[in-house]
């Protein structure tokens, strides 16, 4: 079992980067043959970047169109980020002070995370305004609910041996894998994380780039027909 999971970790990791490389290649090639539209003059750089930063960091565009969903999505993404940062303590040796500083907030985030996802699903399924739910999105949400719930269970009731977990994580990074920690929940948690990495949507990389392009376009719109 341990060997299978260790092999799976490397396969998923390699597949992730191959996929990322192929997508980048496709985006690059696609830009060359893109639509023939002429862009208006480039709008002020500082304003464009500042507005894009607001769009990316605060999910500003979502807030404008759906505040109820924004609340859930923002809570989910911010708690997810804190949980990921909290997990860095397993992969870094020595652990930097800022990672220690994040442990409490990461722990609280870990408990909030599954509820934020349940809230998002509730908004999607029970709000009359929602007309569409992508099956792929629902699958991802369900997967993260499972991963985060197992994480909560491991913290509250079925604690794995954290020393073994750290040895295992560092072993993976140094290509000298240590034995998989014993128990059911940790291997299950890790296996589901691998599924998540395999399914992770590419919009986490591309959406910020498109948001930047959108801001450029919107700020440049008045110039299209009012240029002189």
């Amino acid at each position: 079992m341990g060997t299978i999971i260790i092999i799976a970790v490397y396969v998923v990791y390699a597949a992730f980067w191959i996929r990322f490389f192929l997508h980048t290649l496709a985006w690059w090639r696609g830009r060359a043959e893109d639509m023939v539209a002429v862009l208006p003059k480039r709008p002020p750089l500082l304003k464009t970047w500042a507005l894009t930063l607001r769009d990316v960091v605060l999910f500003w565009r979502l807030l404008k169109v759906n505040p109820a969903l924004w609340f859930g999505e923002y809570l989910f993404h911010s708690t997810f980020l804190l949980v990921v940062l909290r997990h860095l303590r397993y992969f870094l040796d020595p652990v930097p002070p800022w990672v220690w500083d994040l442990q409490l907030s990461g722990l609280i985030a870990g408990y909030v995370l599954p509820f934020s996802l349940v809230y998002i699903l509730a908004v999607r399924f029970f709000s009359e305004r929602e007309k569409y739910s992508s099956p792929a999105n629902v699958l991802l949400l369900a997967l993260i609910i499972a991963i985060s719930s197992i994480g909560v269970l491991m913290h509250a009731f079925f604690k794995p041996n954290l020393v073994d977990v750290k040895y295992f994580a560092l072993g993976l990074l140094s290509l000298a894998p240590a034995p998989l920690p014993t128990g059911v929940l940790f291997p299950l948690h890790l296996a589901l994380v691998l599924v998540l990495v395999a399914l992770v949507p590419s919009h986490i990389v591309t959406a910020p780039l498109v948001m930047l392009e959108a801001r450029r376009r919107e700020l440049g719109l008045p110039q299209v027909m009012h240029e002189k």
């Binding site: 992508s134 591309t206 027909m225």
Partner: protein, 385 residues
């Protein structure tokens, strides 16, 4: 394309999609179109397809996808409300171009467009001799050469003649000399071909038109059709290969400037409440939003009302994207939604500034239980000067 990967499939766009409003079918929706196109590309051009050959794509998937892409009016309201900011008013025509390349589009009568435009110079297959004659006012002079040129456009000239007649009357009243290409030289601007994904003839059309205006010394090209104006300002320079030798202006921009400078005066009063519909390719497309309102507000006695969704967020009247040629029923239903809201707002008149909107909304009113007077903005102004 980056945009295809950037869609989070959140579905916010569906709440603003006019096709959704009348069909209620989520399969014909922006995230599904993107999902199906991704699936199609994966099966035909993905790594596995490259290594082991492309796999057969499910026929139903292809049919659903083709329908979804061509049933869209390309109004771009989805992109306007996209939490990522995807420029869908451009994305859908680009998808159509890709589909034409792969033999999946266009559909129905759209497929005849290149041949029709090649033969007659316009997408309606009408003779060039009838392009101006039925509507152009006899007393309005057209100069052989001038700084200003007027492009009537095919839809205006053949399908919305009160509108282009109004344009010509107002241009005549402003008094600045303007020129026009002879009817056989004023060919299609390329938009119907662009929007259906059939790009082969575009460069030739653009070169002919640009050279025609350049040889007449034109500095400003005025046009009242939002679709023409859109392709002229956004795509013509790229197709022509360099900066255009003239500036493009929508007629409302030209007229609002003339009003501001006192070169045009609206003498008569009109005690009416009018409601203005923003054409998608004029507002979201090129950002001309204020000038039509300025023109309307300059009419003594007029009260300008607004639709719930206006300006950048305007709702499609159903005539966009060449979808009206194939999905006629959808277009009529969308047109009636526009009429219904205008009536509910207690407007005396529905003001349009797009020939496609003008033709389709007028058609939608035939046999409809709610009625309102539909007038093009220049048709209105020309009657009051």
């Amino acid at each position: 394309m980056l945009e295809l990967d950037a869609c989070t499939q959140c579905g916010e766009c569906l709440k603003h999609c006019p096709v959704q409003d009348v069909t209620g079918n989520p399969l014909v929706s922006p995230p599904e179109k993107i999902r199906m196109f991704r699936e199609f590309i994966r099966k035909t051009d993905g790594l596995k397809a490259k290594l082991f050959g492309s796999t057969d794509v499910d026929r139903k998937l292809l049919d659903d996808f083709t329908k979804a892409v061509y049933e869209c009016t390309t109004c771009g309201a989805c992109g306007q409300n996209c939490p990522v900011g995807i420029f869908t008013q451009r994305l859908w025509p680009t998808l159509r171009k890709e589909m034409v390349k792969r033999g999946l589009g266009p559909i129905g009568v759209q497929a005849n467009l290149p041949q029709v435009v090649k033969n007659s110079g316009n997408p309606y297959d009408k003779p060039a001799a009838d392009r101006y004659r039925p509507w152009f006012p006899e007393h309005v002079a057209v100069a052989a050469k001038a700084d200003i040129a007027y492009y009537a456009g095919c839809t205006g000239a053949y399908e919305a003649q009160p509108m282009v007649r109004g344009d010509a009357l107002v241009l005549g009243a402003i008094g600045e000399p303007f020129t026009m290409l002879p009817p056989e030289e004023e060919v299609c601007c390329g938009f119907p071909l662009f929007i259906t994904g059939q790009h082969d003839l575009l460069k030739d059309l653009v070169d002919r038109l640009v050279e025609g205006y350049r040889s007449r010394g034109v500095k400003t090209l005025v046009c009242s059709c939002p679709c023409c104006v859109n392709i002229m300002s956004r795509d013509w320079p790229a197709l022509y290969g360099r900066e255009l030798p003239f500036t493009i202006r929508h007629i409302t921009q030209y007229v609002s400037l003339a009003l501001r400078e006192g070169r045009l005066k609206i003498a008569k009063e009109l005690k009416e409440s009018v409601i203005y519909h923003d054409p998608c390719y004029l507002s979201r497309g090129v950002g001309v939003i204020e000038e039509p309102r300025e023109v309307l507000r300059s009419i003594p006695g007029v009260t300008v009302l607004e639709f719930e969704r206006h300006g950048l967020n305007s709702r499609c009247c159903g005539s966009g994207g060449a979808a009206r040629k194939v999905y006629h029923e959808n277009a009529i239903k969308m047109g009636r939604q526009t009429i219904d809201e205008a009536v509910a707002k207690k407007a005396d008149r529905l003001i349009l500034s797009c020939p496609a909107c003008y033709a389709k909304v007028n058609e939608a009113m035939q046999g409809h239980d709610r009625q309102i007077r539909i007038t093009d903005i220049m048709e209105l102004v020309s009657g009051l000067i």
